[in-house]
Amino acid sequence: MAIQSSNKSKIIYTLLAWSISAAIFFPIFWTLLTSFKTEAEAISASPSLFMFDWTLENYQDVLARSPYFEHFWNSVVISLGSSLIGLLIAIPAAWSMAFVQTKRTKNLLMWMLSTKMLPPVGVLIPIYLLFRDFDLLDTKLGLVIVMTLINLPIMVWMLYTYFREIPNEILEASRMDGASIKAEIFHVLLPIALPGIASTLLLNVILAWNEAFWTLILTAANAAPLTAFIASYSSPEGLFYAKLSAASAMAIAPILILGWFSQKQLVRGLTFGAVK
């Protein structure tokens, strides 16, 4: 009886999980479908799910009209560059906060997090002026710096949470064996915290890839990433839904594929320490 009831609830939970997943995935699925329709079919009042004239014309048009690979390369450099530089700063910062705590560590962590609560537009003009004066407007370097600074609080917080799960005794033992701080971090801490570091890296690559405020404001023709590529297909006066869908599909495909292949690491990292 108990087994039957357990099976029943398992089925209900499975169905619920599938329904929620389908609802979340539906907009992406619809975007993909629309990208293969003509503009007339894309705006049709009675849209068809699969019974339409499939076409690759939108992808051809988008590739002909925009330098997709330039935007793609800019996205790769900005997201990977900012995530790697961010890690270089966040690992020692999180190490010191996790293992060499002072009475102000918590306040410092909260202050770092509070910077994420500020609306970005609040600092738009000062940052724009700084970029102008340092010749960083429309450069990949400038965006790497901004993305690093924007995502640094999240990286430090995530790494801090992972590091806190590692018993201090292990690090103490290495110190007893005469390990330097560098050796302690590189040979003891990092191998143990590797899943957490990998998930932090992946999450930040995704966040930087999808960032669409600074990447649109601070770039023009040279450093514009895929967010600017998508924005160039949206129009309030003219119907370009099918082309916009094709551009969106091309912009999100790389990060979706990356997320698909690294989902185990991502889930493992994000749920690390959630259940004790």
Binding site: S44, A220, S232, S235, P236, E237, G238, L239
Partner: protein, 441 residues
């Protein structure tokens, strides 16, 4: 021998590479920021013609959605960032930015540019003290687009200059809700460039105005009540469901798929609804001027997408050469040759409307010209006003308050509040914003 040939080839290649590098190094690169509208995409496609004629100028394009572009170029021009050499801006920005000294006067367009050929209403909106600060790329007004078959079935005939009374009658007669056909489609989505533009233009024909001569808001007047009440009533009677979230694109989709009997919106839509490739009703569309109430002003607006040079640009000469090319008669001829006469950017030059080939190819051309010519942005309302602009008020605060007022109108259309409440809220919030900005005398 082989060695000599190899050396000679390498030398020649090196020289040619060096020449290529030096040529491209001497070429000046200008960055053009533009919106993703059909006419701009054509301009980008055909820009190889400009580059062929000006090998010393390279073009770099930044194409963006209108609101993102506005945010980006405003930030750049206000901080003198210098990221762009040519900016696509509207008739709202030109007088404000020109007065701020953010734009370069266009005095290098060339002797054969024929500035006198620009339509007077458009040219006047882009000039400060008779000096041109932006060149119009395409201009538009608004008009009535209607289904000739549905109107005929209803036993009515559209006048060339209809009244709002007739429009309501026709909308009711054409509506067949069971068949999913709605007599009238109007913008309902909140935004200063969305429903506020339409309703402000409408209000001009009802005798209303945003401010009196002393910058005091006028939403508490009978004229505004008549305007908004008409809008809400006609949409309730004959409009599509969910109209409060419909903008240009949503209504275009409804009209093209045969769901609207009439649509009052931008004249540029004439080319879309008569395009057989996208429109199911392409051969059943008629055009008429925007309606009026017999008070001397019609409910149509005036807008132009223009090309301007920010004062922060270091390449003003090259930028003006490009603007001269993109807004010239020769460019119109180039578009006609490559894409057909119906695809020529409308609403900027008198000569285009004197061209029989264009008039034949574009059934909406005559109404477009009449609509543009009927508007005076410096005298837009029945009663006198202290501002310039037909469907907007050319002050920097308008984007914010225009959108806030649009939200009230949209809420009234959605039935979330009464017309009186919406206007009372509009009056209060505009009054507060204007007093804060120290406008009322």
């Amino acid at each position: 021998m082989l060695k000599k040939i190899t050396i000679a080839t390498c030398t020649a290649l090196s020289i040619s590479a060096a020449l290529t590098i030096s040529a491209s190094a001497s070429a000046e690169t200008i960055t053009i920021a533009t919106v993703n509208n059909g006419d701009m995409i054509t301009m980008k496609e055909l820009s190889s013609d400009f580059e062929a004629k000006h090998p010393d100028i390279d073009l770099k394009w930044v194409t963006l959605e209108e609101n993102i572009l506005r945010q980006r170029v405003t930030t750049d021009v206000a901080t003198k960032g210098g990221q762009y050499d040519v900016m696509t801006i509207g008739t709202y920005e030109v007088p404000i930015w020109g007065k701020q000294g953010w734009l370069t006067e266009l005095d290098g367009l060339g002797e054969d540019y024929d500035e006198e050929d620009l339509l007077p209403a458009i040219r006047s909106g882009l000039s400060i003290n008779d000096k041109l600060y932006a060149a119009p790329f395409y201009g538009e007004s608004s008009m009535v687009m209607y289904r000739t078959d549905l109107l005929e079935k209803a036993g009515l005939e559209m006048p060339t200059k209809p009244s709002w009374k007739f429009i309501r009658q026709a909308a009711k007669a054409m509506t067949d809700k069971e068949a999913g056909v709605y007599g009238i489609c109007l913008r309902g989505k909140a935004g200063w460039g969305e429903n506020t533009a339409l309703i402000t233009a409408m209000s001009n024909s009802f005798g209303a105005r945003w401010y009196d001569e002393n910058w005091k808001p006028q939403f508490n007047t009978q004229e505004w009540k008549d305007t908004l009440q008409y809008y809400v009533d006609v949409m309730e009677e004959s409009g599509p469901p969910g109209a409060s979230s419909n903008g240009f694109n949503e209504n275009l989709a409804l009209f093209q798929t045969g769901k609207c009997g009439m649509w009052i919106d931008a004249t540029v839509a004439g080319a879309f609804v008569t395009n057989k490739k996208d429109s199911e009703v392409a051969d059943k569309v008629g055009f008429a001027m925007a309606p009026d109430m017999g008070l001397g002003k019609r409910g149509n607006w005036l807008w132009a997408w223009t090309l301007a040079v920010p004062s922060s640009s270091q390449k003003s000469d090259a930028a003006q050469k490009f603007i001269s090319w993109a807004t010239s008669k020769e460019y119109s001829a180039l578009v006609a040759k490559e894409k057909g006469w119906a695809a020529v950017p409308p609403g900027t030059r008198t000569s285009l409307y004197e061209n029989p080939k264009y008039m034949e190819a574009a059934p909406f051309a005559e109404t477009t010209l009449a609509s543009i010519e009927s508007v005076d942005p410096k005298n837009p309302t029945v009663k006198p006003v202290p501002y310039v602009g037909v469907q907007f008020v050319a002050i920097p605060e308008f984007q914010g308050i225009g959108t806030a007022v649009g939200q009230q109108f949209s809420a009234a259309l959605a039935g979330k509040m009464t017309v009186e409440q919406a206007l009372s809220n509009a009056q209060r919030l505009v009054d507060r914003a204007m007093r804060k900005a120290r406008y009322p005398k």
